[in-house]
């Protein structure tokens, strides 16, 4: 039987750890804290979308810039996302003629 080769855009734990230069255990911990989003398949394997690479980079920058623990970083990133959404909405409401 032949299978078509499909380019996958998701990363497994090993690939994600390699791409970020981090230990897989730290990634697992961040997923458990809800700081990074991952999907778990029925076999328990974690899968990451490429957008989470940028999310992880932000976690690293915040961690390097402030003495925050990972749970606090989760809170900070959530608040930053909410502020970004509010700023976008504010920008839309300021549009000429809106």
């Amino acid at each position: 039987m032949n299978y078509a080769l499909i380019r996958t855009t998701r990363l497994d734990l090993g690939a994600f750890a390699r791409a970020t230069g981090t230990h897989p255990d730290l990634i697992r911990r961040l997923v458990a804290l809800g700081v990074i989003d991952a999907r778990q398949d029925p076999s328990g394997e974690l899968w990451f979308s490429p957008s989470q690479l940028a999310a992880f980079a932000r976690v690293q920058r915040l961690r390097a810039g402030f003495p925050l623990n990972y749970a606090a970083i989760g809170l900070v990133t959530d608040l930053l996302d909410r502020i970004a959404a509010l700023e976008d909405a504010l920008r839309c409401s300021r549009r000429p003629g809106a």
Binding site: L26, A57, R61, F66, L80, D88, R95
Partner: protein
């Protein structure tokens, strides 16, 4: 970079500030200028300066050396006596006068000779691999800057030269698609915050902001203009030239046009790269002369007497 700027000035603290004051100033500034909290492209450089100043002033031993030797302290060997150094500097005369004094004009040299000091090291120290952290190089943050555009620029599209940044300015040739709308983002890949230790840079996003225009009011891709008419033009009908971003257009004003009536010029609004362009609406506005000559007054009086038109009748 903090070239030529005093570290105390960067943190906004007096030279005799306590370690606690220095830390408080740094924490406050870091919360304002951290690239993930402030996406303004200028913020990253400020954050780097602030961190560099804090790295020096937070360590009492390094701070003492900075106080004694000024911005060149890293190039002075550890065993040099500050007083002897100052005397030798004063004796060196006019040849070095330009670099005398802490923070004034001299600045750092980042040459290959400065073995342990390089601006990339400082940046790498901020967001790069730190021993024991278990991290690889950290990619740069995305940045956002507003891109103010006139209605004409939005209509035509094309390339526009844009300069952003404070002390360290950067210029870009931004490709503006015709018909870009307010709030739309234009992405410049890899032009955002620098990554530490060779990691990839973030992206720079220009957020389009359409400037208020003296004659056009924008609603999505539709444009609204005022169409000024004399009372007799509105009553009898006429043909008027209207400005559009693409040039003048003739509008046929039907007779009996009242104030507020909108005439649509289909497709004469802003272009749409994916579909129908917007329309241009010319809204009638009737103006009367502020003063009348005796003849004109007489003619209006005749009209008033002959007319049975009642604009206030409720029918």
């Amino acid at each position: 970079m903090a070239e030529g700027r005093d570290f105390y000035e960067i943190l906004g603290v007096p030279r005799n500030a306590s370690q606690e004051e220095i830390q408080r100033a740094y924490r406050k500034l870091a919360r304002t200028y951290h690239p993930d909290i402030n996406s303004d492209p200028v913020a990253e450089d400020r954050f780097k300066d602030i961190s560099e100043a804090y790295n020096v002033l937070s360590d009492p031993a390094i701070r003492r050396r900075y106080d004694a030797f000024g911005p060149e302290f890293r190039q002075i060997p550890e065993d040099v006596d500050p007083d002897a150094w100052r005397r030798s500097r004063a004796g060196a005369g006019a040849g070095r006068a330009g670099t005398a004094g802490a923070g004034a004009g001299g600045g750092f040299r980042y040459g290959a000779g400065d073995m342990d000091f390089d601006i990339e090291d400082i940046f790498g120290g901020l967001f790069g691999a730190r021993p024991g952290r278990g991290w690889g190089p950290i990619p740069g943050a995305d940045q956002e800057a507003e891109l103010p555009l006139t209605v004409e620029e939005v209509y035509r599209g094309g390339r526009k030269s844009v300069t952003i940044g404070g002390a360290e300015q950067r210029s870009f040739e931004v490709n503006i698609p015709p018909g870009v709308t307010d709030g739309q983002r234009i992405r410049l890949a890899g032009q955002g915050g620098r990554g530490g230790d060779g990691a990839r840079a973030g992206d720079l996003y220009f957020i389009v902001r359409i400037l208020p225009h003296p004659i056009y009011r924008i609603q999505g891709r539709d444009l609204h203009v005022e169409l000024r008419l004399a009372p007799w033009e509105a009553a009898l009908g006429t043909s008027v030239a209207v400005d559009t971003p693409g040039g003048e257009a003739k509008v046929k004003v039907p007779h009996g046009t009242s104030c507020g009536k909108r005439l649509r010029l289909r497709g004469r609004g802003l272009p749409n790269p994916r579909g129908q362009p917007g329309d241009l609406f010319a809204e009638a506005k009737i103006l009367v002369p502020a003063t009348l000559s005796p003849t004109q007054r007489e003619l209006f009086e005749q009209l008033a007497a002959a007319s049975d038109f009642d604009p206030r009748s409720r029918q």
